[in-house]
């Protein structure tokens, strides 16, 4: 019986793209109303894509929230007894002793286990830190010794859709600069130096040679392929989709077909938990849509006068001290249409080229986006207080934020992407390890490229520093 049932799932048809909605009645018969399963009938993405935008978003959000908050069970595929947490499908050398283990994972039942403060999709305190390991070597660590993993806090996801759109536009702009320099070098026969800047953020420069090669030794804060990867504390993941596929495997042992399926692993049950093809592309899209549509953080509107006045003064001081050099108050966004899959995915995450037409979600249809100011070009000003760029954030005099021992995805141990400060008033504690208990502490922990700003802050009189704190505390994720 068991064998037969499995073969029904793992046969050739499991590797077939289908319109899934037509199957809903059959599944409805099989799954009782009281089922604990999270992954039941996948959504019918084709019919949802045909809906008017408001309804489309509502349906996707609904399903996405179910997936984000649902506690995966073994019948869903939770667990990866024969696979590590690695992003590239990697077999364990031996089966895991325990399905759940707070360090190497599984370390969570649901996405919301670690993204829930002050509301679902938000951050989490130190309690919910994750231990990030590449998962290729020493995948079974059971110690917090930093030689095996980097301990990270869980960031809030609010506004993540706008962040990804900004990153996509910046990548496109930077690549256009690169291509332009290459073309000019080829046509002129002389090397061309191009400043890499997008939306007012400088990423250094490149030198294009007439032979089509590129000197990238002077780029700053971005990967050599000029893909701006805005997610994770480190800024090493390019999209919500990529991150979701990674996290589902790492934290829950739920393996997405687009990464762990038979095409790339030769089996529909790579993790050996006897559940095949655990989560398909449509459900990943719903999960992405939920995160992408989480409202952007905003400012407290009901502040007492004394706080309001302090925050106003603090915002000015925040700029005066140079903090806004990296924590840029707002970046302009030309298009609010979020396409899933995005244009920059690579194999292992569903790509735009893998589908006939990406799913479109116009974030501009959402109230929180409508409420955002626009610049003279009509671009939405996304108030993220960030630059989507990586910086060295520790030095020998102040090494607190350089506590990690392991680089991640080619990024040095003491280099992190600028934290977007929108919502920072709702997401204590602070720092990539969530171990800085107050805003004053985390500001004083800044060093490296931020040393000058940090010293400007510490040189402020007490009321000035308090004003900065008042300002930062006014940036909130609405409940």
């Amino acid at each position: 019986m068991e064998k037969a049932r499995r073969s029904a799932v793992k046969g050739p048809l499991a590797a077939t793209a289908l319109v899934l909605g037509a199957l809903a009645p059959a599944f409805a018969d099989e799954v009782p109303l009281w089922s604990e399963r999270v992954l039941q009938t996948p959504i019918d993405l084709a019919s949802i894509a045909a809906m008017p935008m408001a309804e489309r978003i509502a349906r996707l959000k609904q399903r996405g929230e179910e997936l984000f908050t649902g506690k995966f069970i073994r019948a869903d595929g939770a667990g990866r007894p024969l696979a590590t947490q690695a992003i590239i499908p990697t077999k364990r050398r031996r089966p895991a002793h325990q399905d759940f283990q707070r360090l190497a994972g599984l370390d969570a039942n649901a996405c919301a286990s670690c993204h829930h403060e002050p509301v679902i999709g938000g951050a989490a305190p130190f309690t919910a830190n994750a231990f990030v390991s590449e998962g290729f070597e020493s995948a079974d660590f059971d110690t917090t010794d930093p030689q095996f993993s980097n301990e990270r806090g869980s960031p809030a996801l609010h506004g993540a859709g706008l962040v990804e759109l900004l990153a996509r536009e910046m990548t496109e702009e930077l690549r256009a600069l690169r291509d332009g320099a290459l073309e000019k070098a080829r046509s002129s026969g002389t090397a061309q130096v191009a400043e890499l800047a997008s939306k007012g953020v400088s990423f250094g420069k490149i030198t294009a040679s007439p032979d089509g090669s590129l000197d990238i030794s002077a780029i700053e804060g971005i990967d050599p392929d000029l893909v701006l990867r805005p997610f994770s504390q480190k800024g090493v993941f390019g999209s919500l989709r990529q991150f979701s596929v990674n996290a589902l495997n790492s934290h829950h042992g739920i393996q997405a077909v687009e990464r762990f399926g038979a095409a790339w692993t030769g089996t529909s049950d790579f993790d050996g938990d006897e559940i095949a093809d655990e989560i398909g592309a449509a459900d990943i899209s719903a999960l992405v849509a939920f995160q992408a549509t989480l409202p952007a953080p905003s400012r407290k509107t009901d502040l007492p006068a004394v706080w309001r006045e302090a925050a106003t003064r603090g915002e000015a001081l925040f700029a005066d001290t140079g903090c806004t050099a990296c924590h840029i108050p707002a970046l302009p966004l030309a298009s609010t249409v979020f396409r899933d899959p995005g244009p920059l995915e690579t194999a292992g995450t569903l790509r735009a080229d893998d589908v006939d037409a990406p799913l479109e979600i116009d974030l501009g249809a959402l109230d929180f986006v409508r409420a955002l100011p626009r610049d003279a070009n009509g671009h939405v000003l996304v108030p993220l207080f960030g630059d989507l760029k990586r910086h060295r954030i520790a030095d020998t005099r102040e090494p607190a934020l350089g506590n990690e021992l392991l680089g991640q995805r080619f990024v040095d141990r003491d280099v992190f992407i600028t934290t977007e400060l929108w919502g920072v008033g709702s997401t204590a504690p602070y720092g990539h390890r969530a171990d800085q208990t107050s805003l004053d502490e985390i500001i004083r922990a800044h060093a490296g490229e931020a040393r000058e700003s940090r010293e400007a802050y510490t040189a402020l009189p007490e009321d000035g520093r308090q004003a900065v704190i008042a300002f930062l505390r006014s940036l909130e994720i609405p409940k």
């Binding site: 029904a8 050739p12 690169r178 990238i216 095409a263 790339w264 529909s268 292992g348 893998d354 080619f410």
Partner: protein, 572 residues
């Protein structure tokens, strides 16, 4: 309720799905009707790339033809002759002139070539059986070693896809034989490459052709010729590798990881008497000598026509595919003993690569295999095997319709034939060829030189729909170009170790093998779902580089001694 009862498919068919539909259906669930990650059956889920033949449209109009001497040969050299890093094509023509085609394909676009004037006397381009690119004189420009029925030629590249005869300059005696195979290596401390020429039948010998296989010739540059671009190699010392057994393919290989190259020769039993497959040792500073039974070498007689090698099992030792009439061999070193002896075990049947008869059509007679090449055509990290097929001429005991093979490796280690699904099963008599990314889109395209039929040029459209002509990517990839100063500019003999996750993929830069066909240029590596990789290079002198961190889907240039790679972008 058993655990299996809870198995939850991520997708299911909306109705009955016919086999044909399954073969072109997408892996991914959802409302999308993608074919980009199309897979076959549960036992062969690796993506199958879709190839379309577009030689005529691309400007390649070329036929390899001629009488008996040209039943064999028909090679292609893939090289960048105009320094734009795009792979150009030199095609043997037999009694028709060989032709050079300059690649003008835009990145990611349709294939496009222009016939190129070489600047050579026309007589040197006649009677050509094959060609291999190689920078013989270390001047940074690729030369062509041209195999002929008659005097072999070293054509010195002078830039702009123009060449000049260089036999006299290099004191090279091209002989008067019937040359059908070639290989080159840089021996230890040698400034210039050692060249091996494999000859077929000695037509002037009494009783020819039966039992009259010609000797093969090894040219070691005289050691007093010196290194550097200001000097030219002196190949006046030619060593005869006797006995020759009608070599149709040869390849230098460090078969035992000793650091010393040996010469593997695949011979055609059709004409030899008492012959066999051969392996020659090339001891430093001493004459070559054949491995014999006492050395562990085992007698094997096949209609050897092409050699390809790669390290399939990741043990650091190469496996060899040997094409033949009937079944293809796949040899792995038998490690039963502690001693490293050249004892090979045939695993072709176990791996599913015997390819002994046509996989489609009604002709059940045995196949005739020629060019062989391991490459990752679907970028899933696993090496696949291409074999050019075609009847010698009209041999009645062998298949007349004999389509080329595309054996896609699965994660089980098995290979599954997908030539027909991939679209390369043409009714042409294939000979030489090669896989290269002609339009620089990260997907390996395919050229096949056919006897008495137009050369085939297949564009790899990856996961494109059956009805569409828009390429869709498969796995991630890298293209790696190596360079070093002084001798051996293109790092012949270098090994690449490409780390993706917990796995190491390997590549070796070789000149030789296949069937009368060689190539130089970017080394292609499929990365599967890896978004980045770390490359280490073992340079030909044995020294290892540090790890170079690279991002996927890029062309990367590694200059020996450089701290970082350079990225390269093709013209659009």
């Amino acid at each position: 309720m058993t655990r299996a009862d809870t198995a939850r498919p991520a997708c299911r068919p909306a109705g009955r799905v016919r086999l044909a539909a399954l073969l072109t259906s997408a892996l991914l669930c959802g409302a999308w009707t993608s074919t980009a990650l199309a897979s076959g059956t549960e036992n062969a889920p690796a993506p199958v790339p879709r190839f379309v033949e577009e030689a005529e449209k691309a400007g390649i109009d070329h036929v390899y033809s001629g009488p008996w001497e040209y039943f064999v040969g028909g090679g292609a050299a893939i090289l960048d002759c105009d320094d734009d890093r795009r792979p150009d094509l030199f095609l043997a023509g037999g009694t028709s002139p060989a032709a050079l085609f300059r690649n003008t394909s835009p990145a990611g676009g349709s294939l496009s070539f222009e016939r190129q004037e070489t600047g050579l006397p026309g007589r040197l381009l006649d009677q050509v059986t094959g060609a291999y690119p190689l920078d013989v004189d270390n001047d940074g420009k690729l030369d062509l070693v041209v195999l002929r029925v008659g005097e072999n030629q070293i054509l010195r590249g002078i830039g702009g896809c123009r060449f000049e005869p260089a036999n006299r300059r290099f004191a090279f005696d091209g002989g008067r034989g019937w040359t059908t195979s070639f290989a080159a290596t840089f021996e230890k401390d040698a400034a210039y490459p050692t060249l091996a020429f494999g000859n077929y039948v000695d037509r002037s010998a009494p009783g020819s052709p039966w039992g009259t296989c010609d000797d093969n010739i090894l040219h070691r540059a005289r050691s007093d010729a010196g290194a550097g671009s200001s000097r030219a190699p002196d190949y006046s010392d030619g060593l005869r590798l006797t006995p020759g057994y009608c070599a149709l393919s040869m390849l230098f290989t460090d078969w035992n990881r000793s650091g010393e190259q040996a010469l593997r020769i695949s011979n055609d039993r059709h004409y030899y008497r008492g012959g066999e497959e051969q392996l020659w040792a090339l001891p430093e500073g001493r004459p070559p000598r054949p491995y014999r039974r006492a050395d562990g070498w085992r007698h094997l007689k096949i209609w050897g026509m092409g050699i390809a090698s790669t390290d399939l099992d990741g043990d650091g030792l190469p496996e060899f595919a040997l094409t033949s009439m009937g079944d293809t061999k796949l040899q792995t070193l038998d490690r039963e003993t502690d001693e490293m002896l050249p004892v090979y075990r045939d695993i072709a049947f176990d791996k599913g690569v015997t390819a002994h008869r046509p996989y489609t059509g009604e002709d059940m007679r045995p196949s005739t295999g020629w060019h062989a090449e391991f490459q990752d055509v679907n970028n899933d990290t696993l090496s696949d095997l291409f074999i050019a097929k075609g009847n010698v001429e009209a041999m009645p005991d062998f298949a007349a319709f004999d389509p080329d093979n595309l054996l896609i490796q699965q994660w089980s280690g098995q290979f599954v034939e997908h030539g027909e699904a991939a679209g390369i099963a043409l009714d042409r008599r294939g000979r030489g060829g090669g896989l290269a990314d002609f339009n620089m889109d990260g997907l390996l395209d395919l050229v096949v030189v056919n006897r008495e039929a137009p050369t085939s040029l297949f564009r790899n459209l990856g996961g494109a729909k059956p009805s569409g002509d828009k390429a869709r990517p498969l796995g991630n990839w890298l293209a790696v170009g190596l360079a070093q100063n002084g001798s051996n500019r293109n790092a012949v003999g270098a090994k690449l170790s490409i780390r993706v996750g917990a796995r190491s993929l390997t590549r070796e830069i070789q000149v030789g093998g296949g069937h009368a066909s060689g190539q130089s240029g970017f080394v292609h590596v499929g990365l599967g779902v890896a978004e980045r990789a770390v490359i280490r290079v073992r340079w030909p002198d044995g020294s290892w580089s540090h790890g170079y961190r690279v991002f996927a889907n890029q062309f990367v240039l590694i200059d020996r001694g450089a701290d970082d790679v350079r990225y390269w972008y093709p013209p659009r």
